[in-house]
């Protein structure tokens, strides 16, 4: 094979591998977490429209001004969350949310809590540098 054919074969080979990996990830069954219910789906839309992720994280990903909220529902419960949503804090804006919007957001955070545990402290480390969730 010529030099160019070699290069092209490697290039196309990599693209094919990538295409397979991509397809597998799109169509695998995500058994780890059930889909969100209707109210939580609305909650997610509000979460995005208000850009909560600029200050908060889910699974450690997001802005760094406020705390991670993946499991706040599990740790602190709905009334606690509602208190924050109702009045905001010194840093967090008061969004003047309606009752139904607050219910939707709480339901979304209930859903995120059900998908897994985000606290890095709960992972077990293994000798080769890998980790596993509890």
């Amino acid at each position: 094979m010529s030099n160019y054919q070699w290069k092209m074969s490697v290039f196309i080979g990599l693209i094919v591998l990538y295409a397979i990996y991509t397809t597998v990830l799109y169509f695998r069954e995500y058994k780890e977490a059930l889909p969100a219910d209707k109210l939580a789906q609305t909650g997610k839309i509000i979460w995005q429209q208000k850009n909560c992720v600029a200050c908060h994280q889910l699974y450690g990903l997001g802005g760094h001004l406020g705390p991670d909220l993946t499991n706040v529902y599990g740790h602190k419960g709905a009334p606690y969350i509602k208190a924050f949503l109702q009045s905001g804090t010194q840093v967090m804006p008061n969004y003047h949310l309606s009752e139904s919007e607050m219910q939707a957001l709480i339901s979304f955070l209930k859903y995120t809590n059900s998908t897994g545990i985000a606290d890095p402290n709960t992972f077990t480390q293994h000798p080769y540098g890998t980790i596993s969730a509890q």
Partner: protein, 440 residues
């Protein structure tokens, strides 16, 4: 034109970055007008737009140096320019009004994706109508080709959340989101690194390196990285375990690759080569050092067992800004100075430039370290003092944030001193022949 607009986005990134940092030291300052959920996207999107606009400008200018564009290509390039400029500016305005799509990094309404995707398609067609084959071509043309293809693909992929079936499964949604982001950064790095290699060829005056087997070996390795290393963003997400293992195994060799390239190239330079491209040379040199600074951190982060200590803390912010400023911005400034400033054999380094350059790099070092320390302190809290309330923990980080803010201010001053004179330079015709039509 691309590069000048790009430089304006850099100025806007600096301005909003500083405003956002004020929130760190005076909680809630000015929150009624510009609270953090507006400032962060204003800052981060401006930074991304600076990188994308300037990288496109560099690629297009260099392509025209290689083979002159037809009239049709010039027209397509104009449309591409207006599509991107108008949508990016419209996005910035929409943030000011609090209109969000709410995805990290691309926090705008998905309608803006239509002109952006159209722009990528034009870029793709422009590139391939001017490069019918990659046969016997130097490595940077391969890099640009991959960059353009993957930008289009990953950008579309990052918008898949508009499909409810994907959006409503958090774990699947976040897996695809971070898969696309990881590869997208790899794709724009292909444009930036490719342009730097082209520039280095120009400075030494031959293509020995960019046609070598080593260059291609490293190119394929970075392509492999682009495709498969994104798993390290989501080690704690309960998704398919193999994404984590692949991400870990592929790890982050890419930075090492670039550092090696610049290092080898610097050794091959003669004094004369340097003198003619002195500004570009300095920026490339700085980028080389920043590659090595970021490398250690990046490798540590890609080990899951260490990653859990850093994930979600300011160590990650140190990494993101350390690489986007230290590597991407330095390389793009090398291109910008070369393209706008042109080759000028008469000037040596002016004291003003030297001062601004050193201010930028020294404050970046302080900036980086302050974020690292803040991150370490937060990590300590996550593991050892979970009972301390979040607000109380943040208060203990305040001293680091003061240093962060001060260093950020000096960094901004340094950049402004570098950019403003450049923006005021009239474009010089390049002695190498073809004047860059992107620049007027």
């Amino acid at each position: 034109m691309f590069i000048r607009v790009g430089l304006l986005f850099l100025l806007s990134a600096l301005l909003f970055g500083l405003l956002a940092a004020i929130q760190y030291i005076v909680p809630g300052a000015g929150k009624d007008i510009f609270s953090f959920e507006k400032l962060r996207p204003l800052h981060v999107s401006s930074a991304v737009f600076w990188i994308l606009m300037t990288a496109m400008g560099a690629v297009l200018t260099f392509l025209q140096e290689i083979n002159q564009f037809s009239l049709k290509s010039i027209r397509i390039q104009k449309i591409q320019f207006y599509l991107f400029s108008f949508s990016f500016i419209a996005i910035i305005i929409s943030y000011c009004f609090g209109i969000f799509g709410g995805r990290e990094y691309w926090e705008f309404q998905p309608v803006f994706s239509i002109p952006i995707i159209l722009g990528w398609v034009l870029f793709l067609s422009l590139f391939f109508s001017n490069n019918k084959t990659l046969k016997d071509k130097p490595v940077y043309l391969w890099m640009w080709a991959t960059g353009v293809i993957f930008l289009l693909f990953t950008y579309c992929e990052s918008n898949l959340w508009v499909i409810p079936g994907i959006r409503n499964r958090l774990v699947q949604d976040m897996t695809i989101q971070w898969k696309s982001y990881g590869s997208m950064v790899g794709a724009w790095n292909m444009l930036v690194y490719g342009s730097s290699i082209y520039l280095m060829d120009k400075i030494v005056g031959n293509q020995k390196y960019s046609r070598s087997n080593m260059a291609f070996g490293l190119f394929f390795l970075s392509l492999f990285n682009l495709m498969f290393n994104w798993g390290h963003h989501i080690y704690t997400l309960p998704t398919a375990q193999y994404t984590h293992i692949i991400g870990y195994a592929v790890s982050m060799t890419e930075l090492f690759i670039l550092g090696r390239i610049i290092y080898l190239w610097r050794q091959s330079l003669t004094f004369d080569n340097r003198k003619q491209h002195i500004h570009a040379y300095w920026f490339l040199y700085a980028a080389d050092i920043w590659v090595f600074v970021n490398l250690g951190l990046a490798i540590a982060m890609s080990v899951p067992a260490l990653n859990i200590y850093m994930h979600g803390t300011h160590i990650i912010v140190a990494h993101t800004m350390g690489t986007t400023i230290g590597i991407n911005t330095m390389l793009l400034l090398a291109c910008a100075f070369e393209i706008i400033g042109g080759r000028d054999t008469t000037v040596s380094i002016k004291p003003n430039f030297k001062f601004a350059f050193l201010t930028t790099n020294i404050s970046l070092a302080v900036f980086f370290i302050s974020l690292l320390l803040a991150g370490i302190a937060k990590s300590y809290w996550q593991f050892n003092e979970p009972s301390l309330p979040y607000g109380a923990m943040i208060n203990t980080l305040r001293p680091y944030f003061y240093v962060f803010f001060a260093a950020g201010t000096c960094l901004t001053i340094g950049f402004v001193l570098l950019i403003v004179p450049l923006l005021r330079t009239k474009h010089k015709i390049m002695p190498d022949g073809i004047s860059a039509l992107t620049e007027k």
